[in-house]
Symmetry: C2
């Protein structure tokens, strides 16, 4: 690490969020290359980064396509000139007017639904406004969350017919293999990817056999995107966390800790020597309360500690977090570290869950070629 | 609940944070009255609310005093005209110039420390700038976090002497009974309050006997503030979460669920009928990842569900949360609730931890006399 890095970083107020642009670029190009080989396109999920600057890198100057998890994201990215979006959270009728406003401004915003009642509400809205908001049917590939069961032909066709009868537009099918975050090994992720593919492809087949077009066949989760062996029948992959990666993904084997592009910069503010505690100014407001690695083989506490240059310090983790205090200690060992990390020492903490940690911050402090360069704003809220 | 409430609420975009001003006012006046009876003043901790409007209610138009957990809070509340503050997180030398800037603008901002190295750094800064930033020595009343052990006379006097020799200002002693959040019953909270009182009073006695003034003797946590029987020797109490209260405090018996002043308004977006799931548009970005009740007798999941008027629905909790999805189900029972809560139904979720849930939001939607009235901004960050 060149000396300039630390000199620049030492001027930052802590805690703050760092983004290693080189690691991010590498993560993005690796997944794009993988998906190109499988003949599908990436529709990145912007819920992780929530940054117009990160979107520019992902989209390479084009105006789409992306996935969003909130209408705030849709509006912010519309302001950045992006026009092709799926809002990938089940729709409630109250949100349709806000979607209509975005569509009226030229954004091809698509929604998802998984019930006849939502399809009826959409059909009613279409008849009132004339805006044939395109809808995808959400499938439940793995019992994780929302969606129609892939082989529930009756519900699939009822939704499709309700949309058709209401002159709404059925745009395709979509699923998310959320259970792939909780599996044990590589073989299980590969199996989850095939299960995810089959869920949407089977549903698309059912719909097409009944005479419905189904142009978009969409899957997506960061683990399955990286381990899919075959995506025949799929048209696009959605993934978000891969842009930054995190300790949960490293624990799954989807990346290494050296791929993790975001970290929280923090400063030592005290010690409890006899307990082996180093106390820092990053608490759960900076890290989030996410404890995703608690259910993995290696529990990383609230995060894995690096020096200020970003080099992992083996087995040093944030064992506990209060609102503005983090307690750092060696895993399973009590050792006075006050000499190694005196008050004022700057450290970086790799997060369990990139989406959750980034959501605690309003900006990225970007590092490029090992040097702190610029601030990129991010947004939160709905 | 008058019909107008729901009519007004139904126009809000969900998820969003509601604040019941009447409940908040009642919570504030109850604690103030209790402390008046014990002869001490309240120095409210603004880390929970982070709102100038809430500060106005707490301070009844005066210009202090408050506690803050970040320098961002100090700056925001200085802009609101508040001049008496303690920054109650151990100091790192890098933060002293920012503190000096605030003090130069007329804010009596005090800091805390618990080591000779911090005292030396402060003394050095005082000698360089002439700003005798007042410091309190932090005590570790219960092994929970930072602080000098109350009977570690040597460290106490070393810090005091270092400050005096460096012409810095020793302003008093301070502790936080953080362990009181994790106790089993009322008797244990009463004991924690006495332990907290004794820690600072004993340390103040040690310092005074050695010739050091110790004008401020400060304790504080919401549980101990409510259960303290005697605060002889204490000059002020800090507490923050009591303004809103939450399920962790209700689980401890410090309040009831009817005292909880904040909730997340959310909309039903789907169901998995055979699992008894109601899916809503409030996930962990709206609730936070805090699972504080997981270690209590009654685990409330990610929150306890109320109807849109704020009435608790017994045993209906948010059992799981993704980024923008919450899964609601009955505690220990699988029942199809899709008829009771169809898509579009609005619900409110009471949070585990008010500080953590509020930190996920940028504004409060204020309810007064049962009616939605106004938006109060809040801030986050450092």
């Amino acid at each position: 690490m060149p000396a300039e890095t630390n000199d620049k970083l030492s001027e930052l107020d802590t805690p703050c969020l760092l983004l290693d642009r080189d690691r991010m670029a590498s993560n993005i190009s690796k997944l794009k290359e993988k998906l190109r080989g499988l003949g599908v396109v990436l529709r990145p999920h912007m819920k992780t980064a929530k940054s117009q600057e990160v979107a520019k890198v992902l989209l390479e100057g084009t105006n789409g396509s992306i996935t969003v998890s909130t209408l705030k994201e849709a509006e912010e990215f519309a302001n950045a000139g992006i026009t092709d979006m799926i809002y990938a959270v089940g729709i409630s009728p109250q949100k349709l007017p806000r979607i209509n406003r975005l569509r009226s401004s030229g954004v091809d915003l698509k929604i998802i639904l998984d019930s006849k009642e939502q399809a009826s509400a959409l059909a009613k809205y279409v008849s009132e406004t004339g805006d044939a908001i395109p809808a995808l049917i959400e499938l439940d590939a793995d019992g994780n969350r929302s969606g129609v069961k892939p082989h529930d032909k009756e519900t699939l066709l009822t939704i499709a017919e309700t949309l058709r009868d209401g002159r709404a537009r059925l745009e395709g099918v979509l699923t998310h293999a959320g259970a792939s975050y909780d599996v044990e090994d590589e073989a299980a992720i590969i199996a989850a990817a095939e299960q995810e593919r089959k869920a949407v492809v089977d549903a698309a087949t059912t719909l097409r056999e009944a005479g419905f077009e189904c142009p978009i066949v969409s899957v997506g989760s960061t683990p399955t995107a990286h381990y899919a062996q075959d995506l025949t029948g799929v048209t696009e992959v959605r993934a978000g966390v891969f842009v930054f990666f995190d300790l949960v993904m490293a624990g799954l084997g989807v990346c290494t800790t050296d791929d993790i592009a975001i970290s929280v910069l923090t400063t030592v503010i005290g010690h409890q020597k006899e307990k082996g505690w180093v106390i820092v100014d990053a608490g759960w407001t900076a890290m989030s309360r996410d404890r995703g690695t608690a259910r993995q083989k290696v529990d990383q506490g609230y995060g894995l500690v690096c020096d200020s240059g970003g080099n992992v310090i083996d087995d040093l983790i944030m064992v506990s977090a209060n609102q503005e205090h983090g307690i750092i200690a060696l895993r399973g060992e009590v050792k006075d570290l006050s000499g190694d990390f005196p008050v004022g020492t700057m450290l970086r903490i790799l997060p369990n869950h990139a989406c959750a940690t980034a959501a605690q911050h309003q900006e990225y402090h970007v590092i490029e070629n090992g040097r702190y360069t610029v601030v990129w704003p991010r947004f939160n809220g709905w």
